[in-house]
């Protein structure tokens, strides 16, 4: 396998870019990548800065004093933090698996030119990207009719289908799957489901990995859905934990004059910037670590494509 892999890789690179061009590429990509990661490093630095130093000098790449206070504070969230971590992982894994399955299934008939209702189902999904009932009706239907309230379904179901990913997946099918392949499978007597799962999907792995990655990101980053449908602390995912602190601090800052004697205390005891940054670190790290995993699928898709050729 590895021999075939490297051989085909080499074959595909019969003509490579010149060293000058390569240097320019590295420069461009290197600078851009740096720009992409610097803010995150900055976030990490802030999370380790001491609060009085920030008060005195603002955010800085080289804080006057370091401190672990923010992390100590995060640890004091204790059970809630780990519970939220678990929730985020759980909804990301289950949600991604389900939504990829639904997406792959829905997109496949849309790609089949011999499918009678192709046009209808394409439009049926696409139309929803253009028109929607708005927040309140969606909320009413989801919460009161479908019972999406304070349960894991409430965190998973609202993001299950994305017309955008369906269309992207359809495009992946149409640019990777030769039609002759489906015809020959059908002549061989392969059923539609078998054709899809055993013949088509394996060659579409890069596409699936991409869709899975995007879905996983969407689930991991989601907080708005949680804000709408979750009130019980045991279901709160990590992002919402952060956003809730954010919203609380903003609200208190704006309305302290209306809250009464408790306000002085409340405002003073709001989680500090460093704490919020520490939470961002907690949020970003796991998914950043998971990224290479998806990447391997995308790369291995390349290999399969080459071997097939």
């Amino acid at each position: 396998m590895s021999v075939a892999k490297s051989a085909s890789r080499r074959a595909s690179r019969l003509t490579t870019v010149g060293p000058g061009a390569e240097a320019v590429f590295h420069l461009i990509l290197g600078l851009f990548s740096l720009a992409c990661v610097v803010p995150f490093i900055f976030v990490i630095i802030i999370s380790f800065s001491s609060e009085p130093a920030i008060r005195a000098n603002g955010f800085s790449f080289l804080p006057a004093a370091w401190s672990l206070d923010a992390y100590r504070f995060v640890m004091r969230l204790g059970d809630q933090l780990w519970r939220s971590y678990f929730n985020s992982f759980f909804i990301t894994v289950v949600g991604t698996a389900l939504s990829v399955l639904i997406c792959v299934l829905y997109a496949y008939p849309l790609f089949r030119r011999d499918y009678k209702y192709r046009g209808f189902f394409t439009f049926f999904s696409f139309f929803t990207t253009l028109f929607g009932g708005g927040l309140v009706p969606t909320y009413m239907v989801s919460k009161f009719m479908l019972g999406l309230s304070d349960n894991y379904a409430a965190l998973i179901v609202p993001l299950l289908v994305s017309p955008f990913y369906i269309i992207v997946m359809r495009t992946f099918y149409s640019s990777t799957v030769p039609e002759a392949l489906i015809e020959s499978a059908s002549i061989d007597g392969s059923g539609e489901y078998r054709t899809l799962f055993q013949i088509i999907l394996p060659i579409c792995l890069p596409g699936i990995a991409t869709i899975a990655l995007l879905n996983a990101l969407a689930y991991w980053n989601e907080w708005f859905i949680a804000m709408l449908y979750i009130t019980k602390p045991q279901y709160i995912p990590l992002q919402y934990l952060l956003m809730r602190m954010q919203n609380q601090a903003d609200f208190l800052a704006r309305n302290s004059s209306m809250i009464g004697a408790e306000a002085v205390n409340l405002v003073a005891n709001q989680p500090t910037e460093t704490l919020r940054m520490a939470l961002v670190v907690f949020i970003v790290l796991p998914i950043a670590c998971a990224y290479p995993f998806f990447q391997r699928f995308i790369i291995s898709g390349l290999t399969i494509g080459s071997v097939k050729g």
Partner: protein, 319 residues
């Protein structure tokens, strides 16, 4: 059945097979279709709120039948303000420029990433480019603030140390189109790049080999193999983003400029106007109306673009 003329039997069998195929393929689309029906089509009833008074009723049904009709009154606020033109201009101009810029930059990056011989470095770049996507606009706004803050910003310090008068960033709209554009590209290029990259990795290696044997240079390979292959993906993403031409990324326009009033001439878009207008009153009728109006504009634009592409090449059109 047994008495059917011999000639019709294969046709019947063929019909049966075709029906079975249709049935099976439809069954694949069903779970998704059901979801769309329940979570997207059902709430569309709410669109009638746009044409009704904003009276609260215990159920959706009560609301739909009992609330008085107001015609297009809920839409008026979008057009009567003296800022209508400014926000429409900002919304469309930013989107138009960003669609083109985003497309060029992400496709270019995807191609470059694919051409880098050192796969390890390529993968590293790719991973790093993805980081901004995780960081919410709120956090980005802290980051931008760290540079531009009027008393403690890095840029402010730097300008002071050079003996210049520092720019009062949050009260000077001039530079903001560039700041917003940079922020947009920074956050989105890694994301759309991965879609193109995945499409590129799906290309059959033999096509490059064939081109290589024919003596094509690298540039020619890109032009004649990679780009044609990406065409579908480019057009689809293009149509999809054109379908959002009247919407904006709220956090980018609201959080990143820190909701600063003096910057409105550069940062006010339809979404922020509507948000500011209705945040306190929470008028459901008016917010539904605003959303509906945006949707209609998007719909018209996307239909035009789709028709255009269908005229050029029926295969590339979305539907």
């Amino acid at each position: 059945m047994t008495r059917a003329p011999a000639a019709t039997r294969p046709i019947l069998a063929h019909n049966l097979a075709r029906r079975k195929k249709t049935l099976l393929l439809t069954s694949m689309a069903l779970p998704g279709a059901l979801w769309l029906l329940l979570l997207r089509y059902l709430p569309m009833f709410g669109l009638v709120f746009a044409f009704q008074t904003d009276r609260i009723r215990p159920t959706l049904w009560d609301r739909v039948i009992k609330n008085a009709w107001t015609g297009f009154k809920n839409f008026e606020f979008l057009f009567t303000t003296s800022d209508s033109w400014r926000m429409v201009r900002n919304t469309i101009a930013y989107n138009a420029v960003w669609i083109v810029l985003g497309l060029v930059v992400s496709v270019a990056f995807a191609i470059i990433l694919n051409e880098i011989p050192r796969k390890f470095l390529g993968k590293t770049y790719q991973t790093l480019m993805f980081f901004p996507y995780f960081i919410s606009w709120v956090v980005v706004s802290y980051f931008v603030f760290a540079f531009l803050s009027p008393d403690k910003g890095l840029l402010t310090f730097w300008q002071r140390s050079l003996g210049q008068t520092p720019v009062d960033w949050y009260n000077t709209p001039g530079p903001w189109p560039y700041v917003l554009t940079l922020a947009y590209l920074w956050k989105n290029v890694g994301y759309s790049c991965i879609l193109y990259l995945a499409a590129i990795t799906g290309i059959d290696a033999s096509q490059y080999e064939a081109a290589g044997i024919d003596g094509a240079t690298k540039w020619q390979q890109v032009r004649f193999v990679t780009l044609p292959h990406l065409r579908n993906m480019i057009i689809i993403l293009l149509i999809m983003s054109v379908g959002k031409i009247f919407n904006s990324d709220f956090g980018l326009f609201y959080n990143v400029p820190r909701d600063s009033g003096p910057l409105f001439s550069a940062t006010q878009v339809v979404d922020t106007f509507v948000y500011r207008a209705l945040a306190k009153t929470g008028n459901v009728g008016m917010s539904t109306a605003a959303g509906l109006f945006q949707n209609v504009v998007n719909f018209v634009v996307i239909m035009l673009v789709n028709t255009l592409f269908r005229k050029i090449d029926p295969e590339t059109a979305l539907f």
